[in-house]
Structures are given as structure tokens and as C-alpha cells.
């Protein structure tokens, strides 16, 4: 069995997809944020690899073709942005304010929590760029002397949390405007959150995509400034 899996060309891709579909089924049955298809698929793959003692690199031989599509898919987020361009023009002040509030809220809350948990400076700057897209966050973390692997872990965890809790938080916080929902999701949880925003609606997805770009670039400046504080 193990020999077969290690040699199967489609093992990693199929395992990931089965995990995701399994997550979709669980989510449909239980309707809980915890049964998030992305989270379930990740847990499913990890448990499977541990049980069958398969190395990550053997899984990734085939699974890497999923990641391979990420750059063109992210670029295609420009399509909903283009289709909702009029909404940007009509609401640009609200959108920019919301994104800047998110960027400052992120840096401030990380600062306060780092002080409370007595994190060292390295871990503090490692976390500062955590709400933006991973490639950009890696650049900021490196520039500020952070630990890049930990930054990427925090970025991905942030994305998964955003994907899991977007619907619930918008409901609890009474964020009902589709534009505001999209900005909230994209500012807090970059592309992984945006995948959820696209499922909620096209306007939410378009706004979330825009927030990835604007909050990404703004966070670079904010992270550098905040790195001097603590």
C-alpha cells in the first residue's frame, strides 16, 4: 500500500481533494465554523501522512501542482475587481478608511499582545506582517529581522482562521454591507480569506481582492514604523 502511494503520480493531489470534499460534507452536516473544509482537508492530509509514515516531500511531488496554480488564480482576482469597479468608485473613502483601520488595528493589537505575552523583538516583528499575503509578509519579516518560517506559519494560520470565522464574525459584528464584509475579510486574512469571500458573493470577493493589494502595500509601511516601538 505504502509503496503504491509513494509511486502514484496522483497521490498528493487526490488526497488533498478527498480531504476537501470530506470537509465539505462535514460542513454541510454540522454547519459549524470548526468544520471548515480547508482546515479539515489540511488536518486530513497531515493525519494520513503520519499514519502511513509518508514524508511531506513524497506527498508534495504531486500536491505541488495545486500550489503551482496559485499565482495565476490570484491574478484572476482582478476579474471580479474589474466587474465591480463602479462600486470602488462610489465607496472609495469608506474602503480606504476600512483598510487603513484594519492595518493599524492589526499592528496595534500585535504590539499590545506582544507586550502582554512578553515576546522578544524578533517574534514581535515576525508577527507584524501576518495579515498580508505570504510572499509580501516574508519580505517584510526578512527586512525587519524576523523569523520567516514562523511568519509564513502565522500568515497561513491567519488565513485559515479568516476563512473559518468570516461568516460568523460578520454575523456577530452585524457587518451586513457586502462591501464592508469583503473589506473586512481581505484586510484580515488575505487570499485564503478571499477564497471564502468569493463563496459569499461576487461583491464581497471583489472587495476582498482589492483589500489584499491595498492592505498588503500599506502594511509594509506600517510594519516598518511599528518595528521601532517595541
Amino acid at each position: 500500500m505504502r509503496d503504491f502511494l509513494l509511486n502514484a503520480t496522483y497521490f498528493g493531489v487526490a488526497l488533498s481533494l478527498i480531504g476537501y470534499v470530506f470537509g465539505l460534507l462535514l460542513h454541510k452536516k454540522f454547519k459549524l465554523a470548526l468544520f471548515n473544509p480547508l482546515l479539515i482537508s489540511i488536518a486530513f492530509v497531515i493525519v494520513f501522512l503520519l499514519i502511513f509514515k509518508i514524508d511531506y516531500s513524497d506527498y508534495n511531488v504531486s500536491a505541488k501542482y495545486l500550489s503551482y496554480l496559485l499565482t495565476p488564480a490570484t491574478i484572476c482576482l482582478a476579474i471580479p475587481m474589474y466587474e465591480r469597479f463602479q462600486l470602488f468608485k462610489d465607496n472609495w473613502k469608506a474602503i480606504i478608511s476600512g483598510i487603513i483601520a484594519g492595518v493599524l488595528g492589526s499592528a496595534t493589537s500585535i504590539l499590545i499582545l506582544s507586550v502582554l505575552f512578553r515576546l522578544d523583538h524578533e517574534l514581535y516583528v515576525t508577527l507584524l506582517p501576518k495579515s498580508i499575503t505570504s510572499a509580501l509578509a516574508m519580505g517584510v519579516s526578512e527586512e525587519l529581522g524576523g523569523n520567516i518560517t514562523v511568519t509564513v506559519s502565522a500568515v497561513i494560520l491567519t488565513g485559515i482562521l479568516g476563512n473559518m470565522f468570516a461568516v460568523l464574525i460578520c454575523k456577530i459584528g452585524k457587518i451586513n454591507e457586502p462591501v464592508a464584509k469583503g473589506i473586512a475579510i481581505g484586510s484580515s486574512s488575505h487570499a485564503i480569506g478571499t477564497a471564502k469571500a468569493m463563496e459569499i458573493g461576487e461583491t464581497e470577493g471583489a472587495m476582498s481582492s482589492l483589500a489584499i493589494v491595498v492592505s498588503g502595500v500599506t502594511t509594509v509601511a506600517a510594519a516598518i514604523l511599528f518595528s521601532y516601538i517595541y
Binding site: L17, L38, L49, Y56, Y59, A63, L69, T71, A73, T74, I75, C76, L77, A78, I79, M81, N91, A94, S97, G98, I99, A101, G105, I110, L113, L127, S131, T133, S134, A135, L136, M138, G139, E142, V150, V152, S153, A154, T158, I160, L161, G162, I169, I175, E177, V179, A180, K181, I183, A184, I185, S187, S188, S189, A191, I192, A195, S209, I212, V217
Partner: protein, 115 residues
């Protein structure tokens, strides 16, 4: 035919974005340049919506799958952080929820104020 042309357009833009990233020494990922480039090309009508729409929405639809391998790959990183993992998870969770609320509330407040 339809999909061949659309995939060709999207992958050409991806390649150009990688070129931009190669020549500009900033830590900005190719995907960000690509989003801006495709957005500009659509607005300038150099690329028409129908030339990318179907394939574009297909890629967006399957996007959640593309995060699985990287997240699984962090398995070892999480294990190596054991001592610090609890504060990290707590801080990440709290800040993510705070940012979502602050950003959403601010946007909604501004939209509704406008009336």
C-alpha cells in the same frame, strides 16, 4: 479552443508578472503585479472580459485547494515551535478577529454615514 485561448492569456500575464518581479528589486510577489496588470488591461479594453472570465472564475473557484500543500508543509515548523506555539496561536487568533471587526465596522460606518 475557448479554454486554450483563455489559459494562454492568463498564463502570459502570469509570465509577464514574473518578469516584472525579476526586474524590480522589491519583495512584492508576482501575483500582486499580475492583478494590477490584468486590471489595467481589462479597463483599457486591451483584454476583453470574455477572453478571461470563464477560466478566471474556474481558477478562483478551486483556489482553496491551492493552499493545502503549503499549510501541510508547515507541519514540521509547528512542531519545532513547541514552546512558543500557544502564545502564537492566541495572538494570531485574537488579532485576526480584531482586524476583521475593526475593518468591517469602519467601512460600514463610512458607507452608512454617506447615506
Amino acid at each position: 479552443m475557448l479554454y486554450i485561448k483563455q489559459i494562454a492569456v492568463i498564463l502570459t500575464i502570469t509570465l509577464i508578472s514574473e518578469g516584472i518581479k525579476f526586474f524590480i528589486p522589491l519583495p512584492i510577489p508576482a501575483s500582486i503585479y499580475g492583478m494590477l496588470l490584468l486590471f489595467i488591461l481589462l479597463n483599457a479594453r486591451i483584454i476583453k472580459l470574455e477572453q478571461v472570465k470563464k477560466t478566471g472564475y474556474f481558477l478562483i473557484d478551486i483556489m482553496p485547494l491551492m493552499f493545502i500543500p503549503a499549510a501541510v508543509g508547515l507541519m514540521d515548523a509547528w512542531i519545532s515551535m513547541k514552546g512558543r506555539i500557544i502564545p502564537l496561536v492566541i495572538i494570531t487568533t485574537i488579532t485576526t478577529l480584531i482586524v476583521m471587526l475593526v475593518s468591517g465596522w469602519t467601512t460600514q460606518f463610512m458607507i452608512r454615514r454617506k447615506g
